[in-house]
């Protein structure tokens, strides 16, 4: 019987008794590899946003945990995700973001694929000038498609292909925010930015979903959004986060505001919510804008945060948009020293994973419980297969 890489017994105890995840879950390449399958490939993970490929034929190569992928909007306007490799010799198909005018041509031997992934041409496969061969069945050799789903403009992927359908897996969160099930528009080039952070991706989740740190790390919020104005959000096994009861809309020098999401309901006049949708997507909703942060794990101790801001109308005020981007950028940058500091802290041997405030840290504990549960289930499955 193989020994588990880490002991998760203490993690799944109640928040009063639990310890956080052991150090190895933040610094050990073997655990990182295990979590890649248990937490990211096996679930619905955030990959990109549909706004990255706005027009039919737009294609963007991406890497997800070392796997080359191609995000593309096909000729009919549907967003798809393929492995970015030719079925012939495994050559990378698309190196740079570009428009596919007709077919995707492999630069090696020119096998061609439609934007829907069908293999449409195999030049000289049967010898010079002979483009068919009985052993090369085109209908069996289309691009390998990765299961994907668009929700709130985010392209979610399930690499393993065996997660429950997205609408089922995320049903509680979809229901919680059903009032926000309205068209949302990416703010464009001024409403996206990236932060590269020297931390394990899970620490970004852990920090995001609790409000305990707000008065200390984001003192600017104290003036109008005090700790007592926040509440916890916890759905064990699915998501956790925090909400505020005193959201105040951004205004410019003329007192103008962003237009509201129409019909979103009076409940949201001053309420806003910030939720970590496990595994790797951080979402925020307000009456007049929303944001998404897709955490891209780049290694056990490195993460890129891809931040996108959304509005209720296609052409919102540019000046306001830029102010809002800057506001959120400042907040998210204030968090960097924390997640990087906790990451460094994980190199302290004998650290027991830490203890939680039973009152203030339960959303983080909720995430740890999810991680431990998924990792244990993955280990049990692997053990059974041995």
């Amino acid at each position: 019987m193989t020994q588990p890489l880490t002991d998760l017994g203490r993690v799944r105890a109640s928040v009063e008794q639990a310890n956080g995840l052991p150090n190895a879950h933040y610094i050990d390449p073997a655990v990182y590899e295990e979590e890649k399958h248990a937490l990211l490939f096996g679930q619905w993970a955030g990959l990109a946003v549909a706004a990255d490929v706005p027009e039919p034929g737009d294609a963007k190569p991406l890497e997800f945990l070392g796997m080359p992928l191609l995000l593309i909007r096909d000729k009919d306007g549907d967003v798809r995700v393929f492995q970015n490799i030719c079925r012939h010799r495994g050559m990378i198909l698309v190196e740079e973001p570009r428009k596919i005018e007709g077919a995707i041509r492999c630069p090696y031997h020119s096998w061609c694929y439609s934007t829907k992934g069908a293999l449409v041409s195999t030049p000289h496969v049967g010898g010079p000038g002979h483009n068919t061969h009985e052993s090369i069945r085109r209908d069996e050799l289309g691009l390998n498609e990765v299961r994907s789903h668009i929700w709130r403009d985010i392209v979610w992927i399930n690499v393993s292909g065996d997660a429950a359908p997205f609408d089922e897996a995320m049903s509680d969160l979809i229901a919680r925010w059903s009032e926000f099930d309205l068209p949302l528009y990416h703010g464009g080039h001024d409403s996206r930015f990236e932060l590269e952070v020297q931390t394990n991706w899970k620490l970004a989740i852990e920090n995001y979903c609790e409000s305990y740190h707000l008065p200390w790390v984001h003192p600017g919020l104290n003036s109008y959004s005090k700790l007592e104005d926040h509440y916890h959000i916890e759905k064990p096994g699915e998501y956790s986060g925090q909400g505020t009861m005193v959201y105040r809309q951004l205004t410019n020098e003329n007192g103008e505001k962003f237009p509201d999401f129409e019909d979103v309901g009076a409940k949201w006049n001053e309420q806003a919510e910030y939720i970590a949708a496990y595994p790797n997507v951080l979402l925020g909703v307000h009456r007049d804008h929303a944001f998404a942060i897709i955490l891209e794990p780049k290694g056990p101790e490195r993460t890129v945060e891809h931040i996108h801001l959304y509005y209720a109308v296609p052409r919102s005020d540019e000046g306001l948009r830029m102010r809002n981007t800057q506001l959120w950028k400042t907040v998210f940058e204030e968090d960097i020293f924390v997640v990087e500091g906790m990451q460094k802290g994980r190199h302290a041997t004998h650290f027991d994973g830490g203890r939680f405030s039973p009152v203030m840290d339960s959303p983080t504990h909720c995430f740890h419980d999810w991680v431990a549960g998924k990792v244990e289930a993955h280990r049990a499955m692997k053990q059974a297969a041995e």
Binding site: G102, A103, S110, P123
Partner: protein, 70 residues
């Protein structure tokens, strides 16, 4: 054919797909051997497919007529 070769090389260097489609189709018509002709037609067809060019349909039909394309 020598000029055609030189033009093809230039078109490849420039990544000029429109020219590649035209030049390979010309090359296909300039040779008497069916295999050689289909070789060039294949290239014209592939570049037309890649470009989403209207010529792709006719080039495909010619290759198919010779049993060289599905």
């Amino acid at each position: 054919m020598k000029d055609l070769d030189a033009n093809m090389i230039s078109a490849h260097e420039a990544g000029d797909r429109r020219a590649l489609i035209r030049l390979y189709a010309q090359a296909a018509d300039a040779v008497n051997d069916l295999d050689a002709s289909c070789f060039y037609l294949t290239h014209a067809y592939v570049f037309a497919l890649e470009a989403g060019a209207s010529e792709a349909q006719a080039l495909h039909a010619r290759l198919k007529a010779h049993g060289r394309e599905a």
